[in-house]
Amino acid sequence: MNKEMIRPQITAYECMLLIFSELVKKGKTLLRQDTLVSTLYEYRENEATEILFEDIAFRKNLDTITSVDVEDSLSRLQTFGAIGRLNPAYEKIVIYISREEADNFLNSFAEQYKDAADIVSEAF
């Protein structure tokens, strides 16, 4: 038994925060919620972006794609005030991260992660 304790290189929460930070840089702070998971799903096996999804599993049924990890990360981001969901229909996610905060967060990750987040963020 190897007793070294490890954590993912990038957690589901960090992946979402990274993508949202890229979106802030691009001036895109309003997102449709209903297509979020299916859009991310398209990038999970893309050679350039798969590193982002180390900690995210998707469940694909015949007619839907869902992800507990994405849902939990959104809930976490909302808990920390980084995103909100607009009343009353809740169909949009609003990103509250400032440009400065987005830059700080992006800079804490290696280039390959930033590049991957840049590619994924183009889809929104």
Partner: protein, 562 residues
Amino acid sequence: MKELKDKSSYKQIADDVNNFVKLKLDHFSIEGIEAKTIHDPIWGSTGYSEWEMQLIDSPLLQRLRNISQVGLAVLTYPAARHSRFEHTLGVAAATKRLVDRINTNCEKFKIEADIKNKLVLAAIMHDAGHCFYSHLSESIYGNLKDFSELKNDIKKIYGVKPKAHEILSLVIVNSDAFKKFFSERVNYPNKSNINRLCEDVGKIIIGVNIMDGETIESYQTSIINGSFDVDKLDYIKRDSYTAGLALDFDIERLFTKIKVHTLSVDGQVEHRLVIQANGVTAIEELTFCKIMLFSYIYYHQKVLITEDMIKDYVQALLKLDIINSYADFLSFDEASLLELAQKQGDKKPFPMYGDICLTQLADNIRNRILPKRCLEISQSIVQNIIKEEPEKNIELQRMLDAIRDNAGYDIKMLDADINNMISYYTRSNERYIAGFMSRFESGTFDGILKIRKQIYDVLVDIYQKNALNVDFSVFDIYFVFPSVVSYGTPGEKNVLGRDGKLMSINDFVKLEQWASSFNAYKWRGYVYVTSKINKEYALEACRTVIFENKIELNELKSFLKI
């Protein structure tokens, strides 16, 4: 499962687990074990067949009697002494009822006896992989390097991310020792393909859909590991009952409205577990109960601190090479774990962090000497930290002028500006703490220990400035950062409308939105200190380490008893 079994990550853990299962089952005699009726406060009287009892009475399942269902919550809710064993019986009882009700509710679809037996077997074995203090121990062994490799391999092959104990349950069910016992001694009704049966059971436990030819039999997995699975049906009722909490949901309504629906898309067929639209209220209640249960029991501040104390103790056992294998994790129960300190109590597991010894760690838990909160972290404790940006009003005016004057506003620019404005103007009521909290996300034990050390170092400075004696260590400071309560995937289409159309729970109640809003205001992180440390000073140190002295905190003293 061949691909998984061929992985070195699987083989290594499987060997270890196989030795444990062999030890438990090799000398166990099934002689005289008969069918029984067992009485239970949650499910009433349930009949268990001969083969079910042969498994239930085996040492492999009996060990669950000594693993508490709710970990150390018993130190806060004294009556919550129930074990994984009662829960396992309850899950098996719920499975039988649910399958029978599905067969009554569906006109054309019937769950055959073979499938029912397989599901009951999965129910009986679903928690067989739990180790001492249930989820607490899995948060340790589940993050060890070789276990993490196995988790990654499972994700690559099946696309799922099961809990660590579910993986151990899969490995147990598919161990040679278990299959030998099951095929040679258990009187299971159909033993024509034990390998396939055990593989299916393992997959169901970790949440992988079962295939029958080209048909996706997702209902089988959903019954044991899904949005409204039998596991939840039992633990929500049982945990709230024993803790004395008045939480309930309408299980009769759920049983009346649950069905298996046949879905066909592009020639592929899926048999999916669904709830009829007029039974959605039962799912709402179930979700609400789950979230409340986390809030009341599992994330109760006293429960969280006791769990962190035992984590220190288990990490100490790992560092001192007292726990050396997954078989050790499976072999120790909660009583024998604490007894280890009596034999090797004077050893010092964390020399870098002071003189704390095993006995002290164990005694504090055994005698319920708990540290107290000095800081509660949440959106509500921070003052509004969002800076006013008066230039935004000018920007907005400029933008409106440009639109009104039809001054050739670039559409892309307009889109970005509108986004920016909405983000700014709707943000004003939010309490933004992500910038501080993100660095604590998913911290390992060593990572969290470093934060505790930082708080300790600042505290030592404060004590020295005040000419006070420092008689505490890092292990008098605890930093607890729980995850949010998962409300699952309400976007999954498992609600059957009157017209036969499938919808999601979200189509009815926007469940994920109210659940995440509830989470946002209920979540709490904590810093605790023992009575050796002055809480005023501790709070000061926390402001420095956690919030970097950058934000104003609301008054905490009134309810934190500082």
